[in-house]
């Protein structure tokens, strides 16, 4: 798989990142060399090998259904650039 200009532009758009021409060229090179490196894995014969879902063979830890009172609004909104009466205020989202 090769990353081209179109692909890099699409990834940037999906990630909401604006790239100029030089930056996108840099990323094309970086990503391609990463992919080339990962490609090496294809040389390994994995026939009849079950996919590995985790290396620790531990099982998903679960918690009991107990709610903790967070009363969080002040703390949660502390970093918000804009807020009003306990709400985050963000630029209008139009649907």
């Amino acid at each position: 798989m090769k990353i081209d200009k179109n692909t890099i532009n699409k990834i940037a758009r999906l990630s909401r990142i604006k790239l100029d021409d030089k930056e996108s060229d840099d990323y094309i090179n970086d990503l391609n060399s990463i992919l080339d490196w990962v490609e090496q894995l294809n040389e390994v014969n994995t026939e009849n090998v079950e996919p590995l879902s985790n290396i620790s063979s531990s099982i998903l830890p679960k918690r009991e259904d107990v709610s903790k009172d967070t009363n969080s609004s002040e703390e949660i909104l502390e970093n918000a650039p804009d807020k009003l009466e306990g709400f985050f205020a963000v630029p209008k989202v139009v649907e």
Partner: protein
């Protein structure tokens, strides 16, 4: 049954599938310990996990997993021993993580089915494709300020079950019956509170139209409908819109639509310049979810009677009609109330039909008038049972009972108290009734003449007069019999 709609040129058939989002009834969220309580002040139930602060890790709620399994069993579905959580990536102001944790390739519950019953006694199976666990998003308020959207993250991270049906639904009514049935099952299982107004249960509707027998047409998806009425309205409007486009020779563009509840119309969502690309991939923060057969068995054994089983039991035990039994079992609180009423006195069992009638007509209409539901009914099941016993033993007439239940409703007194205080016992003494009838006959000689001349309808007049004199307490059957006897003797 004809499910087709008439177009200008020929008949069309709707093809409908539903994705139902049901909030799991739990104390805490799917991956954090914040409370799930509805209606709290904004952003007061948001942990650092829910706000997606860097470094926070999700830990799954055991109870939510059990609730999903329970629901799967209730939907006659296959429970998967192995399922995987994936990230569904998209940007939105009320999704702080930038992705929703959901299940994609390996859902917790696989294929199942539910049955819907029609009024004419027939029924139909709607197949379920899958049920998966996912997080709910926060809530956005768009209409408070012309340039801002307000965001409340209290709902962010609450556990949802998404229940996806096959496109087996053919009419708006079937869609309504299907979602009612799902709602009923969830409420019996106690896995979702079923409150559509508060958004605990909402649906996306996929709809296309075709000539009967053709392949499926191109579908559109109507997002986020939170009442059965709106679901039906939206389907009707959208089907008409699609038929008009097809009959004018154009084709349907696959699209995501919004339904405007005040105009009753659907319109495409505006930001569609970029088709959604969710880039699903397994969430590296969560190991696969494994459930053993033993755990599934334990959950299965905890499942209460579901509406269909209960309906059959009512039909069998109490010889109720399919219609009456369905009406009793559609809502859990109704069947609970019926059970408590009929079990409050062993002699009521043979009067099941009367019990049903008093619950579904008299009591329901009083509750409706007062904006109450069965859970906060001023008339308890025991008290209703007592009232019905007074009717079935002929102590009071059905007509008087209607006044009694109204007073029970407003005063909270028992039927016995009211009947004793007001002396409402039926008059069943032959002599007493005969005396009243003699009086009525004596006072209305002209009417008697007309009656005897063939004006049979006047019988009602005499009954009315005699009832008036006994303040409605005379046993109606005895009154009628004695009246006829006496009048005919005059002949």
């Amino acid at each position: 049954m004809n499910n087709l709609i008439k177009g200008e040129k020929h008949d069309w058939e709707m093809v409908i599938g539903l994705e139902i989002h049901a909030q799991i009834k739990s104390n805490s969220k799917l991956f954090s310990s914040s409370s799930t309580k509805f209606g709290s002040s904004p952003n007061s139930q948001v942990s650092l996990v829910d706000a997606a602060m860097p470094g926070m890790l999700p830990v799954i709620n055991k109870y939510c997993v059990e609730q999903a399994v329970k629901t799967g069993v209730g939907l006659n579905a296959k429970i998967n021993n192995y399922s995987v959580f994936d990230r569904k990536n998209y940007f939105y102001a009320d999704l702080p993580q930038g992705y929703q944790i959901s299940q994609y390739k390996y859902p917790i519950v696989g294929e199942g089915k539910v049955t819907i019953d029609f009024k004419d006694g027939t029924s139909k199976d709607i197949r379920i494709v899958r049920l998966h666990l996912e997080q709910d998003a926060g809530k956005s308020l768009h209409d408070q300020n012309p340039s801002k959207t307000y965001v409340d993250l209290n709902r962010s991270g609450v556990a949802l079950m998404e229940i996806v049906s096959e496109p087996d639904i053919r009419t708006p009514d079937e869609a309504g019956m299907y979602i009612s049935k799902i709602r009923s099952i969830l409420m019996y299982l106690d896995t979702c509170d079923g409150n559509m107004q508060e958004g605990s249960l909402r649906a996306d509707v996929n709809i296309s139209v075709r000539k009967p027998g053709d392949e499926y047409g191109t579908r559109c998806e109507i997002k986020n409908l939170n009442s059965i009425k709106f679901i039906k309205q939206a389907i009707n409007y959208e089907a008409k819109r699609q038929i008009e486009i097809l009959e004018s020779g154009s084709s349907i563009e696959q699209n995501t639509m919004l339904f405007n509840t005040s105009t009753g119309k659907t319109r495409p969502m505006r930001n569609k310049e970029e088709a959604h690309d969710y880039r699903y991939f397994p969430d590296p923060d969560l190991l696969p979810l494994q459930i053993s057969e033993e755990e599934i068995g334990k959950i299965k054994s905890s499942i209460p009677e579901l509406p269909d089983e209960l309906k059959n039991k009512f039909i069998e035990t109490y010889k109720l009609s399919n219609y009456d039994a369905s009406a009793l079992t559609a809502e859990k609180q109704t069947s609970d109330y019926f059970n408590e009423t009929i079990n409050s006195d062993s002699e009521l069992k043979i009067h099941a039909k009367i019990v049903v009638n008093w619950i579904t007509s008299e009591l329901f209409s009083l509750l409706n008038k007062n904006n109450l539901d069965l859970n906060n009914s001023p008339v308890s099941p025991e008290n209703l049972g007592q009232l019905i016993k007074l009717i079935s033993t002929n102590e009071i007439s059905g007509k008087i009972a209607k006044d009694v239940i109204e007073e029970m409703f407003s005063s909270g007194k028992t039927a016995r108290q009211i009947v004793d205080e007001k002396g409402l016992q039926q008059v069943t003494d032959q002599g007493e009734i005969a005396k009243v009838i003699d009086e009525v006959i004596a006072e209305n000689p002209k009417m008697v003449e007309q009656y005897l001349a063939g004006k049979d309808k006047l019988l009602g007049f005499f009954v009315g007069q005699a009832m008036k004199l006994t303040k409605g307490k005379a046993n109606p059957k005895m009154l009628n019999d004695i009246l006829k006897q006496k009048l005919n003797k005059k002949n």
